[in-house]
Assembly symmetry: C2
Homo-oligomer: 542 residues x 2
C-alpha cells in the first residue's frame, strides 16, 4: 500500500519546490490488518474519528493522522492515546471500544487512508422516493393539534426525529431518519414571501447523508413523506426562502446539493473542494453548515476547512451565482442578527466570530472571542448600553461572549465585544427569546458531571448569572440545548442518556421562562439533542 511518487524532476519542475499531497513511504514491515478487521476499523474510524480528523486524515479540529505522522508514534503510543484521550481535548474511547478494537484502530491509522468514492447526481436520484405522492398532500392540517407549537426533536442515537406537541407535551410520533441527525430545518418566512403553510414542511439530514421530508399537517403515521441521499457523510440542510429548494451539505463528498423541495429530487451538485484562505488546496473541504438568508434569494454555505462562506443564489441553477467570501478557518455554526441581514458564524480554530453581510454579499467583520466559539442556534437580545447584541458559548472555555450587532443604530458598538459572562463550564448551546429577561447557556463540554448536568441563566439587564439549574442528577446523563416554545413562556432543555444511548431513557425538561421553575418532564426520548420549535424557527426568533 505504498503511494506512487510523482516524479517532479521528470516534468521539469524547479528544484526546491516543496511537494504537497504525495510522499514516498518505504518501511520494512508495514502495519496491516485482515480485510474484515480493516473494514471494521474503517467503520469505527468513520463513525467516531472522521468528524474531527477527516476521512482523508488531514486533520481539522483533530490532528493530522496520515502515516507519515502516525508511524512515528507507533502502535503502543497510538493505542494509549485512543484509550485515554489527550490533554488537547480528545475524548477517551476505552468505554466505547474493546482493547482489540482500539489496537485495530491504531493499526488502521498507520495504513494509507482509503479514499471514499464520489457520488453523482444519478446515484443520488436512485435513492429518491416518495412515501406520499405530492398530489396526495393534504390541503389543511389532518389533526386538531396546534402544529405551530410543535417541537421537532432529534433523537440522535435512535436515527429518529420525534414530534412533540408543545401545548400538551405529548410525543406525537417518532419518525425514521438518517443516522445521527445533526440538524433539522423547516420552511421559514422570507422577506418576499409569507405563506399560510410556512413551517409545515421539515427536512432532516443524517450523518449518513440521508434526507427526509416531514409534513406536520399529516396524521402522525404519514408524516414522513419523501427521502433521498446526497452524500456518505453530511451535517446540515436548509430550505430556500421561496420554499422551492432544499440544500444540503456534504462532509464527503465535499459538496452541496440543491434538491426540489417537493420531491427531494436532486437538481444540482456543486463541489466545495478548493483553496483555504492561505492558498493551500484542501481536498476534504467540508460543508459544516448551511442557512437560508431571510432577505435575499440565497443560501449561505459554510465551507469549514476553506474558511470561506459561499453565498449561493438559487434563482438560476443553470447559471449559478456564488460569492466565495473569505473569512477564517474552521467555520462551524452560526445565526442571523435580528434584521436578517448579517450572519454571525464561529470560526472555531481562529477563535473568531465571522460576520457576513448578506445584502452586499461580503465579509462585514471578524470579532475576536475566546477558545472555540460555538453558538449553536445563537441568541440575540437588547443590551441597555450596547443596544442590539448577539452572544455565543465556547467549547473551550466557560464563557459567553456578547457583541454589538446593530451597525446602523449603534455603529460604535457594532461588531465589538460588549461584555463577557463567565459560566462554570464550557458549553455548546446558547438561547433566549425576545419576551424573556434571561439568556440560557449549557455546559456540556465540562468534564465534571455536576456541571455538565447544569445549565446557567443570566439576566439581560444586570449581566449576572441569576440561577444555575441542575437539570438531571442521574449518573451518565448530561444537559444540553435550549429552545423556547411559541410565545416564549417555556424553556425546553434536553437530557442525554449517554450511558444508555440506544434506549428511550432520555428526556426533555420544561421550565417556566419567568420563574425559572421546573414545569414538566417529557420522557421516552432517545438521546434527545437539537429541538426546533416550529413557530420560533419559521419567524427567525433567535
Amino acid at each position: 500500500m505504498k503511494r506512487i511518487k510523482y516524479g517532479l524532476s521528470a516534468i521539469g519542475l524547479a528544484v526546491g519546490m516543496a511537494m504537497s499531497g504525495t510522499s514516498f513511504i518505504a518501511f520494512a514491515t508495514e502495519p496491516t490488518l485482515s480485510k474484515a478487521d480493516f473494514e471494521k476499523a474503517q467503520l469505527h474510524y468513520f463513525q467516531r474519528c472522521a468528524g474531527c480528523h477527516g476521512v482523508l486524515r488531514k486533520g481539522a479540529t483533530g490532528k493530522n493522522l496520515e502515516p507519515e505522522n502516525t508511524l512515528k508514534k507507533g502502535q503502543k503510543r497510538l493505542e494509549k492515546i485512543i484509550s485515554l484521550g489527550t490533554e488537547g481535548g480528545m475524548n477517551n474511547f476505552d468505554d466505547l471500544f474493546s482493547k482489540q478494537e482500539i489496537a485495530n484502530l491504531a493499526t488502521f491509522i498507520q495504513m494509507e487512508p482509503p479514499v471514499p468514492p464520489e457520488m453523482s447526481l444519478a446515484q443520488m436520484r436512485e435513492h429518491t422516493k416518495q412515501y406520499i405522492a405530492p398530489k396526495d398532500y393534504p390541503t389543511k392540517p389532518m389533526h386538531g393539534r396546534n402544529w405551530e407549537n410543535f417541537f421537532v426533536v432529534i433523537e440522535r442515537d435512535a436515527g429518529k426525529a420525534a414530534i412533540v406537541d408543545g401545548d400538551t407535551k405529548e410525543i406525537v410520533t417518532h419518525i425514521d431518519t438518517g443516522y445521527a441527525v445533526h440538524v433539522i430545518k423547516g420552511t421559514e418566512h422570507h422577506k418576499t414571501q409569507h405563506t399560510k403553510d410556512t413551517g409545515r414542511f421539515w427536512y432532516t439530514i443524517g450523518r449518513d447523508g440521508k434526507v427526509n421530508k416531514i409534513d406536520l399537517w399529516q396524521t402522525p403515521d404519514k408524516m414522513l413523506v419523501a427521502e433521498t441521499k446526497m452524500a456518505y457523510d453530511a451535517r446540515d440542510i436548509a430550505v430556500s426562502g421561496d420554499g422551492k429548494y432544499v440544500i444540503a451539505g456534504g462532509y464527503w463528498p465535499a459538496h452541496f446539493v440543491i434538491m426540489d423541495a417537493v420531491t427531494l429530487n436532486p437538481l444540482k451538485v456543486v463541489s466545495t473542494r478548493g483553496y483555504n484562505t492561505k492558498g493551500e488546496f484542501i481536498n476534504e473541504a467540508r460543508v459544516a453548515a448551511i442557512y437560508t438568508t431571510p432577505n435575499e434569494p440565497t443560501f449561505l454555505v459554510a465551507v469549514k476547512e476553506l474558511g470561506q462562506m459561499w453565498q449561493v443564489d438559487y434563482r438560476d441553477l443553470d447559471n449559478l451565482r456564488i460569492e466565495q467570501i473569505n473569512s477564517a478557518e474552521f467555520l462551524h455554526d452560526g445565526f442571523f442578527d435580528p434584521t436578517g441581514r448579517y450572519f454571525q458564524i464561529a470560526a472555531n480554530a481562529s477563535n473568531k466570530m465571522v460576520v457576513v453581510d448578506t445584502k452586499d454579499r461580503k465579509l462585514e467583520k471578524m470579532i475576536d472571542v475566546d477558545a472555540l466559539p460555538h453558538p449553536g442556534p445563537g441568541a440575540n437580545w437588547i443590551d441597555d448600553k450596547c443596544g442590539p447584541v448577539g452572544g455565543t458559548t465556547h467549547l473551550g472555555v466557560g464563557l459567553v461572549s456578547v457583541w454589538g450587532n446593530d451597525p446602523m443604530g449603534h455603529p460604535d458598538q457594532a461588531w465589538k465585544l460588549c461584555y463577557e459572562v463567565e459560566t462554570d463550564g464550557a458549553g455548546v448551546f446558547i438561547r433566549t427569546h425576545e419576551t424573556s429577561d434571561y439568556v440560557w447557556a449549557d455546559q456540556l463540554k465540562h468534564p465534571e458531571p455536576e456541571i455538565q448536568q447544569s445549565v446557567q441563566v443570566f439576566d439581560k439587564k444586570t449581566r449576572e448569572i441569576v440561577k444555575t439549574i441542575r437539570v438531571t442528577e442521574e449518573p451518565g446523563k448530561a444537559a444540553l440545548h435550549i429552545e423556547f416554545n411559541k410565545g416564549g413562556s417555556e424553556v425546553w432543555v434536553s437530557v442525554w442518556n449517554r450511558k444508555d444511548s440506544k434506549n428511550p431513557t432520555g428526556e426533555i425538561v420544561v421550565y417556566d421562562a419567568k420563574t425559572l421553575k421546573e414545569k414538566a418532564r417529557i420522557k421516552g426520548l432517545t438521546t434527545p439533542t437539537g429541538k426546533f420549535n416550529v413557530y420560533n424557527r419559521m419567524n427567525h426568533k433567535t
Copy 2:
C-alpha cells in the same frame, strides 16, 4: 500498486449504489517498470498524451486509459496503437519514440496513474521574480519602432516568443518563455478604460505553467520584465480590462490563478474541480481557455470537462463572485462578437458553439455545428443576408460554419446557422479583418501534405472560395494560423517546420490582403504558431 477498496458496506451504504472512482484490481503479474523507465515514460506521457487523455487518464478528447481498460487491451495491442495511431483520430508516434520507449509507455499506462502534487499560493510565489523592477519601467517607448504594429509570435518548440516588427518585417528579439507556449495575451481596451499604454504589456503562458511578462516599450534586450509559475500544466492567460490583474488557468492542478499584473505576484487561486453538466464529479476539470470581457469587470474561464463557463468578477478578490454557467462538454476556445457582449466558444465533444451573454452572465444559446469546432481567434464579419455573423473552422471536417450573431439587429438570424463553406481539409484557425473582403481558413488537420500546406480564402459577398494558397511546398512543413496587420492591409500565415522543429527553419509568409499575392517571407523562426498583432488584439478586431 493496488488501490484500496473503500468498504462501502461498512459505512452502511445501500446495496446497488454503483461505485465511482475506486476499484479493486487483482492480477497475478502486475505490469511494472524500473524507477528510471517509469519516470521517463511518465515524462513522455505528460508531454505527448496527457493533453488528450488527462494526467489521471480519465479521458477527454482521447479515451480513458485507466488500468481497468488498458489491462484488457494488453501490452502488444497497446504498443501497436501507440506506434500507428487509430482511426478515431489519434496520431502515430513511431516517428517520435523508439520501439523501447513505446513499449515502456504501453506498460506505464497499464499501471496506476500517479497523481501529481498540488501547488499552493506560497509555492507559486517562490517562482515570482522581477527582471526589471517596476519602478524602472520606462515612461515612453525606448525604441523608434511602431510598436502597435508589432506581432508577438509563439515559437513553440523553442520555448520562446519572437517580437516581429510589422512595418519592417524584422525580428526584433526572441524572448525566453515557458515550454510550448499555447497563448500570449496583451492588455486590451475595455469599455471603461482606454489608456495610452494599452497593448504595451504582454503575458505568455507555457504548457509548464510558467508565466512571463513582456514590455514592448523596452529595448529588445530588456523586454522580459517578470516571471512566475502557477501550475505544472497550463494553457491560457488573460489580462483584466483595468490592466490590474492577470489570470491564468491550469490543466494540473485544475485551477485558475489571479496575479498582480505589475509584479505577477499570485494573489488568489480558485479550484475548478467540480461536477459536469451530467452531475458527475471530475477531478481533472481543466481550464481550457480564459478571456477578459470587453464590457464587464470580469474574466471568462472555460472549464473544459465540466462544460461550464465561469464568469469571474475581479472587482473584489476577497468576496469573489463567480457565475457557473452550464453549457456543454468539452469547452475549448472562442471569441467575442463585435459588441463584446457575447462570447462564442466551441464545445468540441458536443459539436456545438456555445454563446455566453456576459452582460447578464448567463447562457445565451447553443448552436449545432459540425465535428469538433475550433475557431482559434475566430472571425466576425457582415453578411449581406444574415447581417453580423461569426464563423468557425472544424478539427473534424473541412467546413466553415457561419451563424448570425446580432440578436438586437437581426433577431431572426441570431444564433442560427446562416451558411456553410466546404474547404478541402479540416482546420484549426479562421480569421478576417473588418477592412477585408475575405475570410481565411487553414487546413492543418488534413493528412495530405498538399492540403495541410494550403490555406483557403472565401469571399464574404459570394460565400465562395476564391483562392487556395499553397503557403509552402517543403516536405515536413505545414501552414497554419492567420493574423492581419494593423490596418488590415496584410495577412500573415505561419509555416511550421515539423520535421526540424527545434531549429529556426520555420517562417511567416505575408500576403497582400487585397490581391492575395505573396509579399514577403520572414525567416529564422522556430515552429512559429500563434501570432498576435498588438493593435488588432488591443482593439478586439476579430
